[in-house]
Point group: C2
Chain length 96, copies 2
Amino acid sequence: MTEKGTADENTIFVGSKPPMSYVLAVVTQFNGGTNQVQIKARGRAISRAVDTAEIVRNRFVTDSKIKDIVIGTEAITNEEGRTSNVSSIEIILVTK
Amino acid sequence: MTEKGTADENTIFVGSKPPMSYVLAVVTQFNGGTNQVQIKARGRAISRAVDTAEIVRNRFVTDSKIKDIVIGTEAITNEEGRTSNVSSIEIILVTK
């Protein structure tokens, strides 16, 4: 298994579902034996990504902590071919 | 001027206005001579705080960089006396 493969498997993309859907996905990853999970989101889902990390950390995997938080800007092209910028976040959670 | 006083003055609280309002506030702080600005938000305004930091960094104060990002959970009591948790973010931008 390559390093990239591992990173992809342990990455949860947060979208428009309720936060608990993503919390469950993160907890499942940790219970499967991994010690690092990346939580990624773009645009308005960013606040849900923060909710997800906080709920996991405070309620479900209390020995986990935030290793790093990275924010950035991504260019998105819509159906009409126009490009717009959207903010992104990546929260890296690790267990000790 | 106390250290706390300085920190409060250089903190921008992001709410429900358009991101450019907060971008202007941050840029004004940097133009006033400070070299550190904290951008804070709670709940759904978190994604707007990330937008604010990214727009400042990419378009207006291009020599600024992100020093640290901290996320947390705050307890909020509503009018009926019920307590609920809300996620928070603090993005610290500095100029070199």
